[in-house]
């Protein structure tokens, strides 16, 4: 019981500190903006560790963070192989293929207004469906290995990316199009110099959403069939063995991979769309 009391004390202390920082004079600085959420996260981990150890929570329900870290350190080779299989082979390849296909399709569709008017609603519709359900079908077509996972990722990222790109290409104002008209610009010139740059913020929105979808797609697709390697495989196998520390280890890897992937795209976005109000911090 003392551990519960202690945890509560720690939580309240950390929260009070955060309140002080958030409402203090330095609250606008970058340092404080990083400290507060970090403190929150660390406190969460600390309380988790204390409560699990203090209350002797069985491992099969919730392992303490320290055990998860240990498991990760002991199994680096396996974690790496799983990462390569799921992320590099499955998610990344599917992401590149799916996004490129979507962008090219959007360019084609853009030339024919009739097509874009028909495709946008249908694309929006399909993007809202549980595409993950196509995983068993794709495993049947492409086999157990990374190809079917990449295929699932392609299907998952295609429609959000298509919808965002088409929307971005339509984003120009009448005035900007009129200006091009007064220059007697050819459609290709108007496309390259106006519509494509103007579409970039939307396209990057789609690219960012797709990073998350890609990783989810690759992992969950492995629940439907996989060779004995891969993050999804390891998670479902470890769950079966009640080796929850390994499950959490894979989740940490997945979380790191997911945020790093998203972050990388966000950095590129900042470079390409430096001019957009959302990037200028206005």
């Amino acid at each position: 019981m003392s551990i519960v009391f202690f945890s509560i004390v720690v939580w309240i202390a950390a929260w009070t500190l955060n309140v002080k920082l958030a409402n203090g004079t330095a609250s606008g600085t970058r340092l404080v903006k990083v400290i507060v959420p970090t403190l929150f996260g660390l406190t969460l981990l600390l309380v988790w560790e204390m409560l699990v150890r203090g209350l002797n929570v069985p491992l099969v329900i919730l392992p303490p963070p320290s055990l998860v870290v240990d498991t990760m350190a002991d199994n680096l080779a396996i974690l790496w192989k799983d990462f390569v299989q799921t992320f590099l082979k499955g998610a990344l390849r599917g992401y590149l293929i799916g996004c490129s296909a979507a962008i090219l399709t959007a360019f084609l569709v853009d030339r024919f207004d009739f097509l874009s008017r028909g495709l946008l609603p249908v694309g929006n519709f399909i993007a809202a469906l549980p595409i993950i359900g196509t995983a068993p079908i794709l495993v049947m077509w492409f086999g157990f290995d990374w190809q079917s996972k990449a295929a699932v990722v392609v299907v998952m990222v295609f429609f959000p990316m298509l919808v965002n790109t088409v929307a971005g290409l339509r984003e120009t104002t009448a005035m900007q199009r009129d200006l091009m008209h007064t220059y007697a610009a050819r459609p290709a010139q108007s496309f390259l110099k106006l519509r494509l740059p103007a579409a970039m913020p939307f396209m990057f929105n789609g690219l960012k959403i797709s990073t998350t979808l890609a990783l989810i797609g690759a992992i969950v697709a492995e629940f439907f069939g996989s060779p004995v390697v891969g993050m999804g495989f390891r998670i479902s196998a470890s769950v079966g063995q009640l080796a929850l520390d390994m499950v959490w280890a894979e989740i940490v890897v997945a979380a790191l991979a997911g945020s790093a992937f998203y972050g990388a795209v966000a950095i590129i976005e900042k470079g390409v769309t430096f001019w957009h109000p959302s990037q200028r911090g206005s």
Binding site: L179, T182, Y183, A184, Q189, W275
Partner: protein, 260 residues
Amino acid sequence: MAQEIVISAKDLSLTFATGDGAVHALKNVSLDVKKGEFVSFIGPSGCGKTTFLRVMADLEQPTGGNITVNGVSPSAARQARAYGYVFQAAGLYPWRSIGGNIRLPLEIMGFSKAEQAERVKNVLELVELSDFEKKFPWQLSGGMQQRASIARALAFDADILLMDEPFGALDEIVRDHLNEQLLKLWKRTHKTIGFVTHSIPEAVYLSTKIVVMSPRPGRITDVIESSLPEERPLNIRDSEEFIAIAQRVREGLRAGHDAE
């Protein structure tokens, strides 16, 4: 000073159908604009002044009557890049620097890289923005952005400059300054300028010819040849001559209003 007619409209009409019936944006508008003139179009909302400008620019198609620009149809004139257009908003591309924005029409029209660089330099000098070539539009004030927009319209040596309420969004002090600059520019370059405005002092100050229009249907109620001298310091706006012309404009506007 050549007296050739550059823009000629005869019985120009533009009617479009809406849910509430036909709207006569322009009805039987006839006007001749000579080379080198500075023509202002003034009138209340819906009088057709912007529509008239857009028809000249081939941005709208008339439904009746005739109009020629440089002796050919507006469409042919547009293909020949006969005019530069300045919109109400600067409309600069935020992903291009000021210099890049001015280069935009030059790239499209196929000028060589060396020519582009020279023209950008010259035209930025004309509008007094030489130091801002590498800056981006959002780093400039509204007035400066509009000056850049004008520079962009001048870059490719079109003989005709069409301007649709370019200074409407700016405050009066900036507006006065830009009016002066525009006049200086006009005298240096001898372009034919079509200028749409809401402001009577602005119209009288800038133009050699003032076209007063009124709505429903859109038509010309008066065409005033300005008797003001070519040299126009800002304080000419207090002179008797100026006030008389402004009065005539006001009467033309009221006549159009009362006739509704």
